[in-house]
């Protein structure tokens, strides 16, 4: 049955909202560890945070397979909303996904379930979008890498707890690797594949 009737709307102003969201994501990727705000509001399905919805409406299209974790796919609304507004295919195989939406990061599957890209096409990797409990209320971690002047301190509540240990494969795989975006409400923090953990504070 058609249940479009219950779906939340997309961006009110498609072009400008997508542009400003793209800018926020680009700034977050260029300045790893910094918190960027997403100002464009869109209707969001229940399980999804505002930032994730805005990123989805901006970056997803019919060429980007999406993988949903069990919490995201628990509500069929999420898949239907993505399909209606972005026409992105939702796939069951995480290793071919361009983006993975993780509603419950504590149960994040092993990173090798996702695509790392190849040396010829490092861009064909999965970008993980994690919904976390907070971006400024966790134990501090110090990060360094391109885009960071010296080191920067990130206080997000990192879930899963061993996320940075898992991300150490990025150093081995470079230029392939996994990029991560942490989202809480309308704030986003990016941890691209070049960012390294210095120490826990």
């Amino acid at each position: 049955m058609t249940t479009v009737a219950e779906l939340p709307a997309g961006f009110a102003d498609k072009v400008l909202s997508a542009q400003s969201t793209f800018r926020s994501v680009m700034d977050a990727m260029a300045r790893p560890g910094s918190i960027q705000r997403i100002t464009s509001a869109a209707g969001t399905p229940l399980a999804m945070m505002q930032g994730v919805a805005a990123i989805a409406l901006t970056l997803f299209d019919h060429d980007t397979p999406i993988w949903l974790d069990s919490k995201m796919s628990a509500t069929p609304d999420v898949g239907r909303w993505l399909k209606f507004h972005t026409s992105a295919p939702v796939v069951g195989d995480s290793s071919i996904a361009s983006f993975a939406l993780i509603g419950d990061p504590t149960n994040l599957p092993a990173l090798d379930c996702f695509a790392f890209g190849s040396s010829e096409y490092p861009d064909r990797s999965t970008t993980l979008i994690l919904q976390v409990a907070s971006l400024n209320d966790g134990s501090p971690v110090e990060l360094q890498g391109p885009g960071i002047d010296g080191t920067t301190t990130l206080r997000a509540s990192i879930q899963p707890a061993d996320l940075f240990e898992r991300l150490s494969i990025n150093a081995v795989l470079f230029p392939s690797g996994i990029d991560i975006v942490l989202v809480h409400d309308d704030g986003i923090v990016a941890i691209p594949r070049t960012t390294r953990l210095v120490r826990r504070g």
């Binding site: 049955m1 058609t2 479009v4 009737a5 779906l7 709307a9 997309g10 961006f11 009110a12 102003d13 498609k14 209606f84 507004h85």
Partner: protein, 157 residues
């Protein structure tokens, strides 16, 4: 939509929407606006903002042969949801986004039990009459220039 509607009702509603869509897509934006002014518009929101895009137009060799891509056509589309829950979709050739939105709005109202009759009577019916009028006029103009060729049999046996 209610799940227990009979199949016949469903088909009837579909046919009504299809007929309305055929008329609206061939009408001018100004005419749709003019006729819509006679109706109190319900509260509604844009589920999908009007947008332009391209569709591939496909043809068939000789009308029924192998399919081929004829070329791309510009299309505008929109989706509108009434406060009562009906969702309407509008697609039209060209870049007129407002027209796509109005068609979606009409499509949503056609499905509404309260407004369906009013839209049918005050918007779709006059537009349909005007469309048929235009078609007939064009057919008449074309018919006036018709030349009948006769082949004369020459020579006597």
């Amino acid at each position: 939509m209610a799940g227990n509607e009979g199949l016949a009702d469903e088909t009837g509603a579909q046919a009504r929407r299809k007929a309305a869509m055929a008329v609206l897509a061939h009408s001018a934006t100004a005419d749709i606006v003019g006729h819509l002014a006679d109706i109190a518009l319900p509260d509604h929101e844009n589920l999908r903002e009007p947008e332009n895009g391209l569709v591939m137009v496909r043809g068939r060799v000789g009308g029924d042969g192998a399919p081929f891509n004829l070329g791309e056509a510009t299309v505008s589309r929109a989706a509108v949801r009434l406060s009562t829950g009906e969702v309407g979709f509008g697609y039209t050739l060209g870049r007129d986004r407002e027209k796509a939105r109005l068609i979606a709005l009409c499509d949503a109202m056609v499905q509404s039990p309260e407004l369906g009759g009013a839209v049918e009577a005050k918007v779709v019916a006059p537009l349909r009459a005007a469309m048929i009028e235009r078609q007939n006029q064009k057919a008449a103009e074309t018919a006036a220039t018709r030349v009948d060729f006769y082949t004369l049999v020459r020579g006597e046996s």
